[in-house]
C-alpha cells in the first residue's frame, strides 16, 4: 500500500511539471500584456521599455526557469492587473468558487442518490421515465443558457432573486463567506443550480445504471430469497456496491465542475477563480493565467490521487490503472 501511494504521488508531481510547462508555453501565444496596461497613444519605445522591465523579452527557457525557481518557493508570478502575487489573488478568489462548488455538490448528492436509486428500482414507473427524459434535456442545455434563462425569469421578470455577484459576505480569517448572510444565500441559489444542472443528470444516470447492474447479481437474488426487507436489500446490499464507481467518477467530475465554474461565474459575475481566469485571458494577464492553470491542475491531480488512494483502501483487489 505504501509503495502504491508513493508511486501515485511521484506520478502526480510529474503531471504537475508537465502542466506548468504547457501552461507557460501557451502564455506566449496569448498576446501582449503590455498593450492592456498602457494607453493607446504610448510610443513603441515606451512599450519596449516596459517589456524589458517585466522580462518579457527574455528567451522562453530563461523565463520558464525564472518561473520554476519561484514556483519552488511557492511564488508563481505576479498578476499585472491586480499588482500583487498571483497566488494571493487566486486564494482570495478561491472561497467563492469552493462555496459554489460545495453547494452544487450538495444539490447533486441530495437529488441524484434518491432519484437514481428510484429509477433503478422502478425503471418502468412514470416518474422514472420522467426523470430520465428530464436528465437528457438537462445534459443537453449548456450551462450559460440555463443561467441566462434563470436570470431572465427570476430576476428580470419576477424580481425574486438577485441577478449578479455574491451579495453580502462576511470575512472569517481571510475566507470571505456568503454562507452567513441571508443575502449571501439568495445570491447563491441560482449559480449553484446552474452549475449542478450539468452534473446532476449525469450522476442520476450513473447511479441508475450501476444500481441496475448490481441488482442483477446473484447475491441480491439470494438476499431476496432470504426474505430480507426491500429497503435493506436496496440500501445496504445494492447501493453500497454502486458507490465505488460513483466515487471515482465523482472525483474526476469534481475537477470538471471547477472547470465549469468558468461559465457559471462569468454569467453571474460570481467573483471566483473561473471568472478571474476569463478576465485574465481577456486582459492578457499572463502570470495570472499560468498560475490559475497550475492551481487548477494541482486540484485535479490531488483529487484524483486521493480518489485513487481511497479506492485502493476500499477495494484492495482493484487493479489501479493510472489516470482515468
Amino acid at each position: 500500500m505504501f509503495a502504491f501511494i508513493v508511486r501515485r504521488i511521484a506520478q502526480a508531481i510529474i503531471v504537475m511539471l508537465i502542466i506548468s510547462f504547457i501552461g507557460f508555453a501557451i502564455k506566449q501565444s496569448f498576446g501582449d500584456p503590455v498593450r492592456e496596461i498602457t494607453g493607446v497613444s504610448v510610443s513603441a519605445a515606451e512599450r519596449e521599455k516596459i517589456r524589458d522591465e517585466l522580462g518579457l523579452n527574455d528567451p522562453f527557457m530563461v523565463q520558464f526557469g525564472r518561473f520554476m525557481q519561484g514556483a519552488v518557493k511557492g511564488d508563481i508570478g505576479r498578476s499585472f492587473f491586480y499588482k500583487k502575487s498571483a497566488l494571493e489573488v487566486i486564494l482570495s478568489k478561491a472561497p467563492a468558487t469552493l462555496e459554489l462548488v460545495m453547494c452544487s455538490a450538495l444539490i447533486i448528492v441530495i437529488f441524484s442518490i434518491p432519484l437514481g436509486i428510484y429509477s433503478a428500482i422502478r425503471p418502468k414507473a412514470l416518474f422514472s421515465r420522467f426523470v430520465m427524459g428530464g436528465s437528457i434535456v438537462g445534459v443537453s442545455i449548456p450551462v450559460f443558457l440555463t443561467a441566462i434563462l434563470m436570470i431572465y425569469i427570476f430576476s428580470v421578470e419576477l424580481h425574486w432573486l438577485p441577478s449578479y455577484g455574491r451579495g453580502e459576505t462576511v470575512n472569517i480569517g481571510g475566507w470571505r463567506t456568503g454562507f452567513l448572510t441571508v443575502d449571501g444565500w439568495r445570491h447563491l441559489i441560482m449559480p449553484s443550480i446552474a452549475l449542478s444542472s450539468i452534473m446532476l443528470p449525469l450522476f442520476i444516470r450513473l447511479i441508475r445504471s450501476e444500481m441496475m447492474e448490481v441488482l442483477e447479481n446473484d447475491y441480491i437474488k439470494y438476499a431476496w430469497a432470504k426474505g430480507l426487507m426491500p429497503k435493506r436489500v436496496w440500501i445496504v446490499h445494492a447501493f453500497k456496491n454502486t458507490l465505488l464507481p460513483v466515487i471515482t467518477v465523482g472525483g474526476v467530475q469534481l475537477g470538471t465542475m471547477i472547470a465549469f465554474t468558468i461559465l457559471t461565474e462569468t454569467v453571474f459575475q460570481w467573483q471566483g477563480m473561473g471568472f478571474m481566469f476569463i478576465e485574465a485571458v481577456e486582459r492578457g494577464d499572463a502570470p495570472l493565467m499560468v498560475a490559475y492553470l497550475v492551481v487548477v491542475g494541482l486540484i485535479f491531480v490531488v483529487v484524483n490521487t486521493v480518489v485513487d488512494v481511497i479506492y485502493g483502501l476500499v477495494n484492495p483487489q482493484v487493479r489501479i490503472t493510472g489516470q482515468k
Partner: protein, 536 residues
C-alpha cells in the same frame, strides 16, 4: 454511505487547506479613514453603479484609459473640465488668461482641501504636471509642456515649449494630486510618488485628491465604494455613497439594471437599447461619440491600393449607412471623415458616398475589372460588433470583385498583428485623447516616423507631405479659425484621396432609473460627472 462522507470530508479538508495557505490578506485601506459623518446619514442618497470595468489603480497617472479618467473625475478634480457644449468649465481653476503665446495663467479656487486635509495650492499643480511628464501614458501628451511655475499660492503659470492651441484641452487632464501626501517613502522604502504599472505602490492603493468622493473601500475587480467628502467645495449633487461594481458581461449588466439590482449602467449594449427604453421606470441616454471605426488599406503590401481609384472604389462600395442601420441597429453615426461634428476639423461639405455602380466604374478605370484577392484582419472583442462589421465589409467588397480573406481574433492578440502589418486591410478604431481632430491624423495617417512617433497606427502606409505639414502647422497655430481651416483642409484631402475607409462613430450610452438627472451629467467624453448627480 460512510465512505462517500469520508470522501467529501477529504475534499473539504483539502480545500480548507488550500485556503489556509493564503497569506494574510491586507485590506486595502483608503487614504483617510472616515472620521465623522458631518451630515446626518438620512439625507444621503446611495447610487449603485455598474460599469464594464473598474479603475485599475487609485493612481490617476498609471494608465490613460476611459475607466481611469472616469475615476479621476470622481476622486480628483481637474483644473478645467469639458462642458456639454464643448467649452471649458472652471473647476479647480476659477479663471485663466493668456499671458503670452506660450503661457497660460490659472487663478486657482481658494480654500480647497485635499482628502488628507492638506490645503490645495499652486505647488500641487506644478508637482502634478511634473509627475505627468514622467508617466509612460501621459508623457506623450505633455511633451509640449515645460514645468509649470507657481506665481503665488493661488496662481500658477502653465508654460509650453511652443505656442500650443490645445493647452486647455490638456488642462482637463491635470487632476492636481496632494504633493505632500505623495511625498516621502512608503513602508517598503519605495518613493510614494512612484508610478508602478504592474506591482505594488503607495499611489496604487492610496489616494488624496480634491474630488467629491473618497475611496472608502476597494476590492479590485469586485467593487469600489465611494463616500462623499464632507469638505468638498461644490454642492451640486446629493449622492453620498456610490457603490461601483464592474460587470463585464453585457447581458448580466443589463439584467442587473432590469431587475433593479443596480441604479445606473454604462455602456448599454446595442441589442438591449430598445428593451431599456421601453421599460417603465428606466431612462436611456445616448450620444454620438468621437471614436471612429475605420479600415486601413496597406499600400506597401498590396499594389492596387497605391492607386487612388481603387481606394475610392472601395469607399464607394462600402455601404456604411447600411452597416449602421443593420449591424449597429442604428446605434452609431455614419462617418465620411475622421472627426465628428463639433470637432475643429469637421468639414460639413463632405458627405458619405455609397454608389456601387461608380465603384465598379472606378475599378474598371483602374484596370482591375476582374478584381483581385487580399487579406484582412479585425479584432472580435474590441469595438462594438467589430467582427460583424468586418464580415459585412467583406461581402460588400465581393460585389466589386475584391475577394477578401478575413481573420478575426481577440484584442489581446490583435495589436501585435496590427503592428506587424500581417494583412492588407486592417481595422482600427480611434478616439483622440486630446479631443481634437489633429490627433486622428497624427496617429493614423501621417507618414510613419519612428523618431517622432507620427503614424504609429498607420498600417495603410499612407503618406502625404501636404497633410503632414498642415497637421504639424496646426500644432503651433493658436488662432483657432485659421487652425480649423487647416484641419478641414486635411479632412478634404484624405476624403478625396480615399486615404482610409471610414465607417462610423460609435455612440455612447448610459441607462439609469428615472428620477435622476442622468442626461445632465453625461457627456460626449464619456466621463459622467457623478459629483453633480441629483437623485430625487
Amino acid at each position: 454511505m460512510k465512505r462517500l462522507l469520508l470522501f467529501l470530508a477529504l475534499v473539504a479538508i483539502l480545500s480548507l487547506g488550500l485556503a489556509g495557505c493564503s497569506a494574510e490578506k491586507k485590506e486595502e485601506a483608503p487614504a483617510k479613514k472616515e472620521t465623522t459623518e458631518t451630515a446626518p446619514a438620512a439625507a444621503g442618497k446611495t447610487l449603485k453603479l455598474a460599469m464594464d470595468a473598474d479603475p485599475v489603480s487609485l493612481d490617476p497617472h498609471v494608465q490613460l484609459s476611459g475607466g481611469m479618467l472616469q475615476y479621476s473625475h470622481m476622486v480628483f478634480d481637474p483644473l478645467v473640465r469639458w462642458a456639454k457644449d464643448g467649452s471649458f468649465e472652471p473647476r479647480l481653476a476659477e479663471s485663466w488668461e493668456r499671458i503670452d503665446d506660450k503661457t497660460m495663467r490659472f487663478h486657482l479656487r481658494k480654500g480647497v482641501k485635499f482628502h488628507s486635509g492638506n490645503p490645495f495650492t499652486a505647488e500641487d499643480v506644478v508637482w502634478t504636471i511634473n509627475r505627468l511628464k514622467t508617466s509612460a501614458d501621459y508623457k506623450g501628451l505633455f511633451e509640449p509642456f515645460l514645468p509649470a511655475k507657481a506665481v503665488d499660492a493661488n496662481t500658477v503659470d502653465v508654460i509650453t515649449k511652443e505656442p500650443y492651441g490645445l493647452l486647455l484641452n490638456m488642462a482637463t487632464y491635470i487632476f492636481p494630486m496632494d504633493s505632500k501626501f505623495y511625498s516621502g517613502k512608503d513602508e517598503s522604502g519605495q518613493p510614494k510618488d512612484a508610478i508602478v504599472k504592474t506591482g505594488p505602490s503607495f499611489a496604487n492603493v492610496n489616494e488624496s485628491g480634491t474630488g467629491k468622493y473618497t475611496v472608502a473601500e476597494r476590492e479590485q475587480g469586485v467593487r469600489v465604494v465611494f463616500k462623499a467628502f464632507p469638505e468638498y467645495w461644490d454642492k451640486a449633487g446629493n449622492v453620498d455613497t456610490i457603490i461601483l461594481t464592474p460587470i463585464k458581461n453585457d447581458a448580466t449588466r443589463v439584467a442587473a439594471l432590469l431587475s433593479g439590482d443596480v441604479d445606473f449602467i454604462m455602456p448599454v449594449p446595442p441589442q438591449d437599447l430598445k428593451r431599456v427604453k421601453s421599460t417603465e421606470g428606466l431612462q436611456l441616454v445616448t450620444m454620438s461619440g468621437s471614436r471612429i471605426i475605420t479600415f486601413q488599406l496597406n499600400q506597401k503590401r498590396q499594389k492596387p491600393f497605391q492607386n487612388p481609384k481603387v481606394r475610392q472604389a472601395i469607399v464607394y462600395a462600402t455601404d456604411n449607412t447600411g452597416i449602421v442601420n443593420k449591424v449597429m441597429k442604428g446605434f452609431a453615426t455614419v462617418a465620411c471623415q475622421q472627426g465628428p461634428e463639433g470637432f475643429a476639423g469637421y468639414n460639413a461639405e463632405l458627405k458619405p458616398r455609397y454608389d456601387l455602380e461608380k465603384a465598379k466604374q472606378l475599378m474598371k478605370e483602374a484596370g482591375y475589372e476582374n478584381g483581385f484577392e487580399c487579406t484582412m484582419i479585425a479584432p472580435n472583442n474590441r469595438y462594438v460588433n467589430d467582427e460583424k462589421i468586418a464580415e459585412a465589409f467583406v461581402s460588400m467588397l465581393g460585389k466589386i470583385g475584391i475577394k477578401v480573406n478575413l481573420k478575426t481574433m481577440p484584442k489581446a492578440q490583435y495589436w501585435d498583428q496590427f503592428d506587424a502589418q500581417v494583412a492588407d486591410i486592417q481595422m482600427i478604431g480611434w478616439h483622440p485623447d486630446t479631443e481634437d481632430s489633429a490627433n486622428y491624423t497624427e496617429f493614423l495617417l501621417m507618414c510613419i516616423n519612428k523618431e517622432t512617433g507620427y503614424g504609429q497606427y498607420n498600417s495603410g502606409n499612407y503618406c502625404n507631405q501636404e497633410v503632414d505639414s498642415l497637421v504639424i502647422g496646426s500644432q503651433t497655430e493658436t488662432d483657432l479659425t485659421k487652425r480649423n481651416a487647416m484641419l478641414q483642409k486635411v479632412e478634404k484631402i484624405l476624403y478625396d484621396e480615399a486615404a482610409f475607409v471610414p465607417l462610423h462613430w460609435q455612440n455612447l450610452s448610459w441607462a439609469s432609473k428615472t428620477g435622476m438627472n442622468t442626461e445632465e451629467i453625461c457627456n460626449v467624453q464619456n466621463f459622467p460627472y457623478f459629483g453633480d448627480l441629483v437623485i430625487k
